[in-house]
Structure formats: structure tokens, C-alpha cells
Symmetry: C2
Subunit: 426 residues, 2 copies
């Protein structure tokens, strides 16, 4: 037993189970053994009696949060240019900025800032886009590895419809660069994993998708991409892929839509019932990014439908289309947007509840990494210790009230410590 | 000349003019004389050469923000119970909490926390609801006065449809208490002004509205209330006021809808064209509260229509239906919600731009107080000095980019100092 990674944490422990039920255990003990949670107890069981007890006092203890979708190279323009729709925004802000990552000094500086922010944040796990540049993506992965966070990061593939200086010459060269990146990073990291990253259908030719499918089988890689963010984009995909029944089907036909190898798709706003069924069957994850979807006038994803259909779903910041990297904020945004959707779009779709968004930000997204995002026995011990006493309050609140308040008003400054696999990384 | 209130502030000065144009003046000088702005200059004019120059360095200097709508007694449950619609939420959370303000010790403690937060915030002016309790409202006003903020605060009137322990016995007793409050506070404050505060039509009988109209004329008071927040509420008003053509008309018939005495109405989501015209004619202010309107599933106000019609409009936190007291956040929320409205409700209504929401948070709302919310000559010198250098950035930004970024990512911790009428209050 690794004694450093075996201990008992005392506090007000809050977590979701696999049925999305929220458990609130005031003054309880979460047991970590070798970095793995052994459960939450009112009294410390005899078999853990020898473990070091870390009594954190009057704090909230919650699972670490997962950011299921973020673009590391967009850090420089978060909170800017928020006056455009997706396709304009990509050409005006995103592509020119991403082209800068050919400059490795810039990549080191900018990625350093992003990873530092992520390390300070409530996020313990993240699934991240880099750029098409192999070296810059390796710098990003080096920095992520040092941070102690558990992440997937991907070199982007895009061989059509990119920006000036931001397009790969051919499907073959894109594939070759991807192989080079995978070879150069193979076995190099303990906490940082590669993920295939075709930008989105409009940026990837059929040939490139076929190459990626081959690489996926060879390396056994998951895939991250974008799906159905904007009506114009959906129409464009229809033109580009006349044989596909839908945007989802375009990925499915390419063999990159879940099934054997996991896939996470950001946004999924304008999907139809048939696509939702396909996502369910293929085990495709939705990365719901409510702030981004407002910032780029994209719309509001039908999250209630995903939950009812049993589609896997977590939250994403989609930084920098989402200005803010906070997944706490994403939980609150998800509730708010679901309420506007109920009022303005579909009165059949009940707004999301607090326990549902808490689940999405913890276990929902965390499960993309395996048994992650809960304090159930057998889950990775990713935990946040939150001191919310700096939030003024004229009367005593229940732990459940403090927890809900925290997602609306708390931030990374309230984090006392953050554990990933039982290791305190801040 | 008061030399303490006469100085020159150097920084990157950003402000709106009365046509909503945003002016960005890097490395410029804002001149304050006796608490009144004399304009912004690239070089200090000869006539101000003797004024003390406060060179603030590489900072943004913007006008103080106005919160046009907040409920001071709701501070205790911000970020909680965000799973209900307006009328349920009022009965479950709001009315029981407000009833606590009969307890003056509680009022002192809770109002103290709220006013402290307001003082630290980017807000220099606010228009605030108290509760129906005279003494507690006086405590609130005492605290506001000490803070140095410029505010309107109102004892609430509600003689029907209140909660348990939160309803006045009759129109007459409500009016008598209002007179007592006005007499007890008359001449007591320099920075804190009374405002008539009928809660909303469902809580005020016709008799009470008539009494308030009489008091308004006697004291020359403005009025704050709520208008058309929720479809159920609108339907209820229709039942309660069968002779009124609309919710707005119900206030208009009562003589409490602008005209001689200013009125500010929170929300105004479900108003029709005729109401918008009436608001314009009567000079009624809209307090747009986008976060609240999402939290309570109320909808998204037609802000573009208000702007096109020339209706006066500012931003409100509507704390605690808005979880957050930040008007910076309200600016970003206003942009985001206008984009969702454009996408989901009305593709004719162009989303709000950054200069428009900046105007709304500064001059738009500030003008309820007179010449407030700009650095044009003759405006009250309300200013925020913002150090945004703690927001990491891998490359140099223009001042205009820093300003936009700030509303998305900045907060009260970036405030170096805050002037109200030329006096630094933090």
C-alpha cells in the first residue's frame, strides 16, 4: 500500500451516484487507498483505522470536475470578439490565433498560462484540443503532464476549409503528422493521453477521415470532435456529405462515432431523434457547452432528451467560445440555459435540476476516463476541498444549500486542496 | 473649489456617450472638479494645470456601474432554490426570508453583508428594494449612507397576496407606514434617497396604488416596481385589473408609470408594442435583469426593441433571483441572452453589441440619477480604476480588447479604486 496515497478525508462530502442521485454526507469520512476511493462513511471502518485522517473542518468535499471540451490554443482571446457566429468567428479569431502555434516560444508561453489556470481551477480532468502543430501539441502535453491533471489532448487534423497558414496540405500529410505525433509521445506520459482530433467534418476530407480510422484501430484511440453546433454548419455538412443521413451519420460512416473506441462530441445542439438514438447505441459522449453556445449564438442543446435517452453527457467550457474555464460556472449555465429552452423552445423538456448538472460536471464527464467523478468505492480519488466560509451568509445553511450556492458564487479561490488519484496537486 | 474632489486621473479611459458610442482613450486624462467630470483629454488643459495628477499606470478607467434593480433582503438566499418559477419562488423562498426583517438584529447583520459586498463591487449607484418593514428599511438606508454609494432605497408596499407574516393589513396602514418612513428619513441622508416601492400589481390593491399616487405627488418621489416578468404573472394581472389594457396600463391608470415622476420597471419581458410606446412616452426606465430572467425561467426581454424605440434602459442584478450582484456579469449576460433570443425567438432582433451593453451598465442606468455614468463634461465623477494585469495574456491586447475581456473575466478584485462624485470610497 502506498501510504502517501492512502488516507481518510473528513468534511461534508457530496457526490453523485451512477443514477444521478446526489448524496450529501455531512461530517463524514471519504477513504482513499492507493489513490482509489473506498467509499464514504459516517464512522471510519475498522479496516481503515490505521489510515491518516485529514480533518478538513467545515468544508465541502466534492469530486473533481471534468472539462469535456476545451481548446487550449484559444486562451489568448477568451472574452473577446463575442459578436460573431461560429463560422465567422472561426475565420476572424480562431484560425489566425491557432496559426501562431507554429511559433513554439509562443506555444510554450500561452499553453503555460492555460495549464496554470487549469491547475488552479476546480477541474481535475480535461479533454483538450491543441492545434494541427505536432511540436506545439507536444509542448501542451508536457505542460499538462507536469500539472498532475489527468487529460486527453489531441493534435488537430484539418485538411480543408482552414484559415491562412492553418490547413494541412493533404489527408496523407495530416495522417503522417498524426503518426509522427503518436510515435513521439508514445510511452512518454503517465497522466496525459493522446486522442484523435478531427476538427469537424467541414475541416476534414473523406480521405482524411479514412486515414484517421486506420490510425484509430492501430493505436486504439478515442476521438474528440464537434457535432451540430450551428444551423449553417449543419447545412454545410449536408452539402459536403450528400450520402450521409445526418451530421452524426457522417461521423458514423467514417467509423469515428463511438462503438469500440469512445468518442466525445461537443455541442450536439441541432441533432434529431434518430441521431440521439445513434449516439446512445454507439456510446457517444455529449460535451454540453452552454456558455459557448450562447456566446456564439448557437442555441441551446436538448440536454433533457439526452438524459431521457440515456446518452452519456458531461460539461465543457469550450474555452474560448466559452469565455470562462470554470466547470462550476458551466453547471449554473446549464441550469439557466435549460430553463430558457423550456420557456422559449420546448415546454415538454423539463429544466435541468441542480443534482443533474452536478452529476454532469462530475461523474457524467468523469466517466469518459473510467471510474471517475464520484466517491463510490472503486472510483479514482479525485477530490476538491472547498472552503466556502468566505461567502458571507447571515444565517446558517444546510450543506445541500451551501453546495448549490457554491456553484453559483464560488470559484477557484475557495479551493483548499485538489486531489487527483489521491495526490494533492494544489 | 474643493481640492480633495478636484484632480486629474490618468489611465486608459473608456466611456459611452449619449448616443451609445463607446470612446476609448488610451493614456488620457479625466478631469474631476468638485466631484464633476470636466471631460477627457489627451493633454491636461491649461486651466486644470494646478490640479493634482493621479497617474494610475496601465489601468482601465471606466464610469461606475449602476445596478438598477436589486432586492437587499434577498442576499441570504442568493444561489439557492434556483429550481422554481417566479410565483412559486416568491412563496417558497422570498416571502419567508423577507418576513425575517421584522427582526432588526437580523436586518442589521444581513443588510450589513449586502452593503459591504456592494461597496466592494463595481457598482457606484443602485436602486434597491427593502422589505415592507419601516425600521429595517431605515437600517438599510443608514448602511447605504455610510458606504458612500449613491442609492435609492424603498420600503416595499404590499397589501395583498403576500406570504405568511409578509403582508400589510390594509391600503391605509401601508400608506401610513410609508408616510412614517418618509418623515423619519427626511433630510437625514446625503447619498441615500427614498423611492416609492409598490412590489408589483398582484401585491398592491387599487386603493393602495391610489394612496401611493397621493404620496408621490406630496413628496415628489420616483417609483420602482416590476413589470411583465412571467406569463403567469401577466395573466394574473389581467384578472386582477380587468379594466387595464395591459400590465403597463395598470400602472399607468394608477398614475405610477413615469411622466412627471420617474419610474423604473424591472424585467419587462412580455410587453407588447403598445406598452413599449407607452414606456417611451412616459420616460419609463427598463431594468434589464438577464441572469434573473434565466434563473426563474422567465424568458428574455426584447432589449433590441427598447433600444430601437428609444426607451431608457439599464441593467439590474435582481439579486437574489439573479444569483450574482455583479453588473459586469450582467453586461456579459445581456449579450449572451440577446444572442439566444435572436437564435430562438426573433431573428429580426439583432443581438446586443459590447458597446450597447457597456452603455446600459454605465450611462443607460446611471441616467436614472441624472448626469451619471459617463466622462462627458458635466457628469458626476463616478469612476472605477481597474487593474486587469492579473488576467494572464500571452500577447499584448488593445485597450478595447482588454475592456471587452474584462466584462467576461474581471471582477471586483481588479478594482484599484472606486470614486463616487469624486470621492474615493474604496
Amino acid at each position: 500500500m502506498d501510504r502517501k496515497k492512502s488516507f481518510v478525508l473528513k468534511g461534508h462530502i457530496c457526490y453523485s451516484d451512477e443514477k444521478k442521485k446526489l448524496h450529501i454526507k455531512p461530517n463524514s469520512y471519504a477513504v482513499c487507498k492507493d489513490g482509489v476511493c473506498q467509499g464514504v462513511f459516517e464512522k471510519i471502518p475498522q479496516k481503515f483505522a490505521s489510515f491518516e485522517v485529514r480533518d478538513m473542518g467545515d468544508v465541502l468535499v466534492i469530486p473533481g470536475l471534468t472539462d469535456l471540451h476545451a481548446h487550449a490554443p484559444q486562451y489568448a482571446f477568451r472574452g473577446q470578439g463575442m459578436d460573431l457566429e461560429l463560422l465567422e468567428w472561426l475565420n476572424t479569431h480562431t484560425f489566425p490565433e491557432e496559426a501562431r502555434y507554429a511559433d513554439l516560444e509562443y506555444a510554450q508561453r500561452a499553453y503555460g498560462m492555460y495549464v496554470e489556470e487549469l491547475k488552479k481551477s476546480a477541474v481535475t480532468r480535461a479533454v483538450i484540443f491543441g492545434t494541427l502543430h505536432v511540436e506545439a501539441t507536444e509542448i501542451l502535453m508536457d505542460l499538462l503532464e507536469e500539472s498532475g491533471l489527468e487529460t486527453y489532448a489531441g493534435k488537430v487534423n484539418m485538411d480543408r476549409n482552414g484559415g491562412k497558414n492553418l490547413e494541412e496540405a493533404s489527408a496523407q500529410s495530416s495522417a503522417a503528422e498524426t503518426r509522427r505525433w503518436l510515435q513521439e509521445t508514445e510511452g512518454k506520459y503517465r497522466h496525459t493521453r493522446p486522442i484523435l482530433t478531427p476538427r469537424f467534418i467541414p475541416a476534414c476530407s473523406d480521405e482524411l477521415m479514412a486515414e484517421l480510422r486506420t490510425i484509430q484501430k492501430e493505436y486504439g484511440l478515442p476521438v474528440q470532435s464537434h457535432l451540430s453546433e450551428n444551423p449553417q454548419e449543419v447545412a454545410w455538412v449536408k452539402e459536403l456529405c450528400p450520402k450521409a443521413k445526418s451530421y452524426s451519420d457522417a461521423y458514423f460512416q467514417a467509423g469515428l462515432f463511438g462503438g469500440t473506441y469512445p468518442a466525445v462530441m461537443a455541442h450536439c445542439i441541432w441533432v434529431d431523434e434518430e441521431e440521439i438514438q445513434l449516439m446512445k447505441e454507439q456510446g457517444v459522449y455529449v460535451a454540453h457547452c452552454p456558455q459557448s453556445n450562447a456566446n456564439l449564438s448557437s442555441g441551446i442543446a436538448p440536454v433533457r432528451k439526452f438524459l431521457s435517452a440515456g446518452v452519456s453527457i458531461g460539461l465543457g467550457s469550450d474555452m474560448a467560445a466559452g469565455s470562462n474555464t470554470s466547470i462550476l460556472r458551466a453547471m449554473a449555465d446549464a441550469v439557466q440555459c435549460s430553463k430558457l429552452r423550456w420557456r422559449l423552445v420546448d415546454s415538454e423538456a423539463k429544466p435541468l435540476t441542480f443534482p443533474e448538472v452536478f452529476y454532469m460536471g462530475t461523474l457524467g464527464g468523469g466517466s469518459f476516463f473510467g471510474n471517475v467523478g464520484s466517491f463510490l468505492p472503486g472510483y479514482a480519488f479525485d477530490a476538491l476541498v472547498l472552503d466556502d466560509t468566505s461567502l458571507p451568509q447571515p444565517r446558517k445553511l444546510e450543506v445541500s444549500q451551501r453546495l448549490e450556492r457554491f456553484i453559483y458564487l464560488g470559484d477557484e479561490q475557495n479551493i483548499v486542496c485538489k486531489y487527483v488519484n489521491g495526490v494533492c496537486i494544489r
